[in-house]
Amino acid sequence: MKVRVAPDLCCGAQRCAEVAPQFYKIVDGFNAFVSEHEVHDVPPDMEEAAVRGAKECPERAIRIIEDEA
């Protein structure tokens, strides 16, 4: 699984980091996601947290990309 964040849609609500702090981090003190890279690999034990954080995003800026079977 990968997640893709659209940097331009991120509004800094920080909901992802609130509900899934083990995966989503606050960068630069405010930006609610990793700002350097748009696409991130999700370790298997973090998949549930990644999905939980994505569902919370008020701008739906975080997309889950499932691995191809």
Partner: protein
Amino acid sequence: MSRYAEILKNEDPRIAEVFDVEAETEREGYLVIEDPFPSLAKLMAKAPVQKGMLGELLGYGDQGGFHFHVPGQLTYTAFSFEAVSRALIENQTFSSEVYDDFDNNAQLSNTILHTVGSRHRSMRNAIQPFFTPDVAESWWNDKIIAETVETLISKIEVKTSADLFLELCARMPVHVVSAGFGIDPDEIVTFRIALLGGGHREGEDRVDGLKTSHDILDRVIDARRRKPENDIISKFVQAEITLDDGSTRPFTNEEIINHCRLIVLAGGGTTWRQLGITLFALLNNPDQLEAAKADRSLLPKVILESARWHATDLIFPRRVEKDVNLAGVDIPQGAMLHMCLGSANRDPARWENPDKFDISRPIQRALAFGGGPHSCLGQHVSRQEMVVALNAVFDRLPNVRWDTSKPPARLTGGLFTRGPSALPVVFG
């Protein structure tokens, strides 16, 4: 049919009185401005952040007539997208606690609107689960939005003309949010009037309003503490706030009451005007109306473009908590900041031809629903209401168009709480 729908079928003469943008603006003591956007664009072109209150910079002097206007207080105004977005996100520096200064009766104190940092976060975390995108599209939609819109549109479709602002926009959101919370159907309009009377006005009106809204909510909360139902007040009663040390506590009655006031006021007070602005923009652009009608997957985009083009509330306040440089301007600790969403959402550095309502634009985040930790809690409920309402208008009012026998509709109001004067349409 639920009792909520039965009540909604009745005419209520108070609706026309309460839901009148211009009258509401004047009643609250604020100036009516027909079209602030040309002046806002000129100001933004001068500098992204300027010293002065927004009303003052617009040339109305420093004696008030606008929300968040405090004569004599050192105030700066942020105009550009970048400056306003940063102020929204950096909430510890640009603090929401400024709202306490305007809430003379503490009717919204200790809510997610007024607090910052961990106090805000702990409450927002407890409330957010009732308002996620998924819950808006399932629980809110299935429990109340679909039925509300069906009830309203079936009253309208049997006629050949209507004022959609009054008959659809005004009645839907206050009903949806009040019903969602579990407020008695007979008391919805009374509750709304009490809330409006409670915040800003002086004298007996205000005290009566505060007491009425308090008593209505207190009764519901007590009943739900005894026997929870499937509504938001029951969810509040059962929710737990997790504190910094990991311990939990329930919401107090006072906290639930103030959050109900806040959310019913915000949810019932913005969505009706934003839906009105969306219909206004579509009726003025028949080609875009036809495009949206033909492809309903465009509706979420239509709503975001309407909110960008003309949000209902063009200004929000913050208090500056430490000396800071915002877009090249030094602002000292203690100053107030006016964040002008109206100009930020039409910033030519971000949007091409920004004054044009254009649903074919690429989606880019605008600031109509705010941003940062305080980004609009109810935005997905609001967007879902608007999607369902627009679908109903397209499906049930064939060939809907302006009623040219009536005075042309205008967008009006102050800098806060703007919306159409009316939406007179014919169909069939």
